[in-house]
């Protein structure tokens, strides 16, 4: 089966995120109120052939650990769609 997988890779908490700050500032100056804690990272969409959703998730995790995220600076989250 083919699963559509969504990966989010986000700068680790505590790490300065100047891009997030810039976006937050820009949203403020466009008049959006009540916006905070903006973080900007990468969204990666991919299809994975796997026997089950769990297997697809495990594969995605392995991909994040090896390539998609840098453990020094980034955390990741994975969502598997049917």
């Amino acid at each position: 089966m083919t699963f559509r997988v969504q990966v989010r890779v986000i700068p680790r908490p505590g790490l300065l995120d100047p891009q997030g700050q810039a976006v937050e500032h820009a949203l403020g100056s466009l008049g959006f109120a009540g916006v905070g804690s903006v973080r900007v990272g990468k969204a990666i969409e991919l299809s994975i052939d796997a026997a089950s959703a769990d297997e697809a998730r495990a594969a995605a995790r392995a991909m994040c650990d090896r390539l998609l995220a840098n453990p020094v600076t980034e955390d990741y989250a994975i969502e598997v769609e049917a």
């Binding site: 790490l15 300065l16 100047p18 020094v72």
Partner: protein, 234 residues
């Protein structure tokens, strides 16, 4: 016999020609090494040059670190051999775990190409012996992802163990921010604990020939060649 320095060309590298020229001007034999190579072809030192390996897609250096040649580079470094990463090469060295930390997008979110003033913080690494600690040289940077980051412990260890090799400094009269990318503690370059792996963002190879008005970067390469010469003749 002159020392052999391999300059690796990854797909998307673009500073290999001038890096080879700088190495040869300093008296070593330069060898262009394809990223598919499985050995270093007898080289005494490896230079990972600047450029956009694999387009810098995903993160700079993230894909290049898996190139076939990197096994040989890692083995060379583990055995105490000299590995120097310049700009993209520094990014690759960090991604490959040869150096601690990471290089993130410049704080101002823009690519920055300009001369910077860097102070040499260590005169005993493989590429700085011809300097005196405190020397300031003006050489170019050109990068979009040069903001050095590491966790506080790592930064403290780098400082404590004297592993910061170059730092951005403010020269009198300069009116551009001295730190071009927001690097932690103004770090421009570091080395590993053993001192055989060095990485930095500025490009000494671009200003290593007096014909262009300055050869401020030349001593990086003569230092390297001195060091290799000593090793080769020993």
């Amino acid at each position: 016999m002159s020392a052999r320095v391999a300059v690796v060309r990854f797909p998307g590298s673009n500073c290999e020609d001038e890096t080879l020229a700088a190495v040869e001007r300093a008296g070593a034999a330069g060898v262009l090494l394809d990223y598919r190579a499985t050995s270093l072809d007898g080289a005494d030192a490896v230079l990972l040059p600047g450029g956009f390996s694999y387009g810098d897609y995903l993160r700079s250096g993230a894909i290049a670190r898996f190139a076939p040649v990197m096994d040989a580079v890692r083995a060379h470094a583990d055995a105490g051999g000299v590995v120097i990463g310049i700009c993209n090469g520094f990014q690759i060295a960090c991604e490959a775990g040869l150096l601690p930390g990471a290089l993130l997008r410049n704080a101002q979110q823009r690519f920055t190409s300009r001369p910077v003033d860097v102070r040499i913080e260590r005169a005993d690494t493989v590429c700085t012996t011809r300097f005196t600690v405190g020397d300031v040289i003006r050489i170019p940077v050109a990068h979009g992802e040069g903001r050095y980051v590491a966790d506080a412990d790592t930064l403290d260890r780098l400082e404590g163990d004297g592993l910061v090799v170059m730092r951005y400094v403010q020269e009198d009269g300069a009116d551009a921010p001295h730190n071009p990318n927001g690097s932690a503690r103004d770090i421009a370059g570091i080395c590993n604990a053993a001192g055989n792996v060095v990485g930095f963002m500025p490009h000494p190879e671009r200003l290593a020939d007096a014909v262009l008005g300055s050869d401020a970067g030349h001593r990086i390469f003569t230092s390297l060649v001195d060091r290799l010469g000593a090793a080769v003749s020993a």
